[in-house]
């Protein structure tokens, strides 16, 4: 602990001395600046195809660019590495014009071959570093082939029309990697990636696991060099310590803090709280392969027994909205007309009795409840959430044993279906209901190595609708299909949506230009310091 802290302070102190050498021209008026981002967890890999860990994504969106991306503030798709695109009338052939003069961090030229390479890597098994662990791959399975027409034009051929094709190109998993660096670094690429983004991991040694991850501004970034010279991600797992650090100005941005502490930090001079309605959902997965959760009456009983308002009061300090559907209301296609089941203990007990009488479910029921150790954006207080659910279910005679594990282990165990009940959530990277309904509920995504259908939900009608909606190009028709799918899901309750949270981040006042994106993507290209280096660091 002390070491890391000492290192951090000395880095900050050193920066003014390092400044003279690397930046010239326009930048000379600007002092060398280091932005320290304090977060609760650590990435394990930084390869865009091999991880969907939120802490990794946070870093990767600063290292990689995608062909298209979201506007810095809104959910509008804008050109990025592709300057323009067009498609055939049947939407099966897509042609992208690529940006000229873009360089990778290793100095090589970005061109059509790099795009072809990146997508083949994403969709073809032979290119994967780790066997069958490409969590986002099913999102790209409509791509039949991709070819380079000339050095700066690529053509995608789709096997079926896909309404989410373009949106999915904006997702981090479609980040364009440098084929040369990929070749040179080999398996090291997993932890020492190379893209075209505004920041780069200059040396492999710049990432010391569980201590700090230092990104350097990429001088030749095509949008222009970012204002911040150095961006350091520091994992500080104790949230109370993160609170103290942001209060004292030792870190400049802190996320995933306990909600009650955020309320207090809002009053601390020097700290600003930024809030953004999140495109996320926290939910309770019910492993349908485990008895008695295969019984819909039991699942409905559980849904009736949990007071979501109470949960928001207890575990979110009031900062969130009860979730009826897994698709958050901020995303088009969310079924706003579905009225949630009421919180009704008696009804829940009756349902359990019915299940006992009609289907031979044995009462009382004992279930395991898996929960992660460290906070996530959709679940700032996992322990409190778990305890609340346990108390609620106890009221209807369901005994719950809470099993708390380190985050990565927790995700693996849920993916492998070891749980009865599990607490988890999802933040969408794109503005499309498909990201929720397909990734989290379609039976394509049941697999023990990173599949995200954790409840192992299988409903043919639902599957057909969601799959067909992917290919439906008429937005209105698509919406109707999603509404229908959500009604089926609401009826089946394979998972119980709990809360849509606000994403709240605390910043030091002198950090400007950064705004939490609706996708909660942490893109720090536009961040800068208003005044000179913060004096608090020199104390």
């Amino acid at each position: 602990m002390l070491n890391r802290f000492g290192l951090m302070v000395s880095l900050v102190l050193l920066t003014p001395f390092l400044s003279g050498c690397c930046c010239g021209g326009l930048e000379s008026a600007h002092q060398q600046s280091t932005l320290i981002y304090g977060r609760g967890g650590e990435a394990e890999l930084l390869d865009p195809i091999h991880t969907d860990n939120g802490e990794a994504v946070k870093v990767m969106v600063n290292i990689f660019d995608t062909l298209v991306t979201y506007n810095a503030r809104t959910m509008q798709l804008v050109p990025s590495l592709a300057t323009q695109w067009s498609h055939s009338d049947d939407q099966l052939i897509w042609t992208f014009k690529l940006r000229e003069g873009v360089l990778f961090h290793d100095g090589t030229q970005f061109d059509a071959d790099a795009v072809v390479f990146s997508f083949r890597r994403l969709t073809e098994k032979d290119f994967h570093w780790i066997n069958s662990q490409v969590p986002m791959e099913p999102n790209y399975d409509a791509i039949e082939s991709i070819t380079a027409i000339d050095s700066h034009t690529v053509e995608f051929k789709l096997s079926r029309p896909s309404a989410v094709f373009l949106e999915n190109l904006a997702m981090y998993s479609a980040g364009i990697v440098s084929p040369t660096a990929h070749q040179d670094r080999g398996k090291k690429f997993l932890i020492w990636p190379c893209g075209t983004g505004p920041f780069m991991l200059a040396r492999q040694a710049d990432w010391i696991l569980d201590q700090e991850l230092v990104l350097t501004a990429f001088d030749d970034h095509w949008r222009g060099r970012p204002a911040i010279d150095r961006l350091i991600f520091v994992p500080v797992s104790e949230s109370s310590k993160r609170v103290e650090q942001i209060r004292r100005g030792e870190i400049h941005i802190a996320d995933n803090l306990p909600p009650d502490e955020i309320n207090r930090l809002a009053d601390v001079p020097g700290c600003t709280v930024q809030m953004q309605r999140g495109q996320n959902v926290a939910y309770l997965t019910m492993q349908a392969e485990h008895k008695p959760l295969d019984n819909v009456k039991v699942r409905r009983a559980i849904a009736h027994a949990i007071d979501k308002q109470g949960l928001i009061r207890v575990a979110y300090s009031g900062s969130g909205r009860p979730a009826t559907n897994i698709v958050p209301p901020t995303i088009w296609g969310a079924a706003g007309d579905i009225v949630d089941r009421d919180y009704n203990i008696e009804k829940a007990k009756d349902l359990l009795k019915q299940a006992e009488a009609e289907d031979g479910v044995e009462l009382p029921i004992t279930l395991s409840l898996y929960v992660m150790q460290r906070e996530r954006p959709y679940m700032p207080q996992p322990r409190q959430t778990a305890k609340y659910i346990k108390d609620q279910l106890q009221q209807i005679g369901i005994n719950v044993t809470i099993d708390q594990k380190e985050n990565s282990q927790h995700f693996q165990r849920l993916s492998a279906g070891k749980h009865d009940l599990g607490l988890i959530g999802w933040s969408s990277d794109i503005n499309d209901p498909d990201n929720f309904l397909y990734n989290l509920m379609h039976s394509d995504n049941i697999n023990s190595l990173g599949g995200n259908n954790l409840s192992r939900y299988r409903n043919d009608e639902f599957d057909k609708l969601v799959f067909a909606a992917k290919g439906e190009l008429d937005r209105e028709k698509r919406k109707q299909m999603y509404l229908q799918a959500q009604r089926i899901m609401f009826d089946d309750v394979p998972t119980l949506p709990l809360v849509h949270t606000d994403v709240r981040v605390v910043l030091r006042d002198n950090v400007k230009g950064y705004k939490v994106h609706p996708t909660s993507m942490v893109r720090l290209r536009l961040a800068y310091f208003e005044k000179e280096e913060e004096s608090a660091n020199d104390e």
Partner: protein
């Protein structure tokens, strides 16, 4: 060693010591809280019925020490916490005595290689920091309260083993033991009937002192999150949860902290008082 007069003398000595009285009352207070928790505590310490509807509330007439992150009444949880803490302390000290006592007695009585074997094993146990050994034990058998009690019991074995051995060493060659041997008493008889009475006093003293330590160690383990169900009302886990919210309210952390300190101080004072009373030779040691 005529028992009765010695005991009444001890009682007189104990009565005169003010610190012993303070210790005894503190311990008595927590023992009472543990036994009568249901009547003392105004609210349920866990479960849906214990939730007050307001998290991290400040102390008020309804909630004397405020509420914690889970909306439970801090005072009620503190009171109920004494139950688990005292129980864990007593069980683990009993485990330590049950294993350490006989081992020390055998080592001290027989001497030779038996002694070497037992004492080297104890030395090995002492090489590692106790809490580390305890964590290893709990993690390897899976987090549970039983595991915590067992672990804390294990790390306290050396204390009792060494004390019993030392006492046995001093008494085994005294005349009354020789006399027992001379009339043909068997070794088990000598150990359990002849030597045992002289072990009672040191064990009572050390056991009382050890209870304080054990309660602290149990709280330490559950603070680190290796104990059993996380929603149990227990001082260590209460502290652990409260520490992230200190700037909002300090009471959920202060209450278990003070409770732990008072129990430990209580057992220490009581233990000291007992030692002074039961074993005047050790006075001031």
């Amino acid at each position: 060693m005529n028992e009765a007069p010695s005991h009444s003398r001890a009682w007189r000595r104990f009565r005169r010591s003010r610190s012993a009285w303070i210790g005894a009352s503190l311990v008595g207070l927590f023992v009472f809280a543990a036994i009568a928790a249901e009547f003392v505590a105004p609210y349920a310490p866990q479960g849906a019925e214990g939730r007050s509807g307001a998290a991290l509330a400040r102390p008020s007439a309804d909630h004397w020490l405020g509420t914690d992150l889970d909306e439970y009444d801090v005072f009620s949880r503190m009171v109920h916490g004494s139950r688990l803490s005292l129980l864990a302390g007593i069980v683990s000290v009993s485990i330590a005595i049950a294993i350490g006592g006989p081992a020390g007695a055998v080592a001290g009585y027989f001497g030779g290689w038996t002694d070497t074997l037992v004492m080297r094993a104890i030395d090995v146990l002492l090489t590692f920091p106790g809490i580390l050994v305890a964590m290893l034990v709990v993690v390897s058998i899976g987090p549970s309260w039983e595991g915590v009690m067992l672990a804390v019991g294990l790390i306290n074995i050396p204390v009792f083993c060494r004390q019993v051995r030392a006492t046995v060493l001093t008494v085994r060659n005294l005349e009354y033991v020789d006399a027992a041997r001379a009339v043909g008493a068997s070794t088990p008889y000598i150990l359990t009937r002849v030597i045992f009475p002289s072990l009672i006093n040191p064990i009572v003293v050390l056991g009382t002192l050890g209870l304080g330590t054990a309660i602290l160690e149990v709280a330490g383990l559950s603070f680190l999150g290796v104990a059993g169900e996380m929603d149990a009302a227990e001082w260590g886990s209460m502290l652990s949860e409260a520490k992230d919210h200190l700037s909002t309210t300090i009471w959920p952390a202060v209450a278990p902290g003070v409770a732990i300190s008072l129990t430990v101080v209580g057992f220490n004072l009581l233990g000291d008082g007992l030692r002074d009373a039961l074993d005047p030779h050790l006075e001031g040691k």
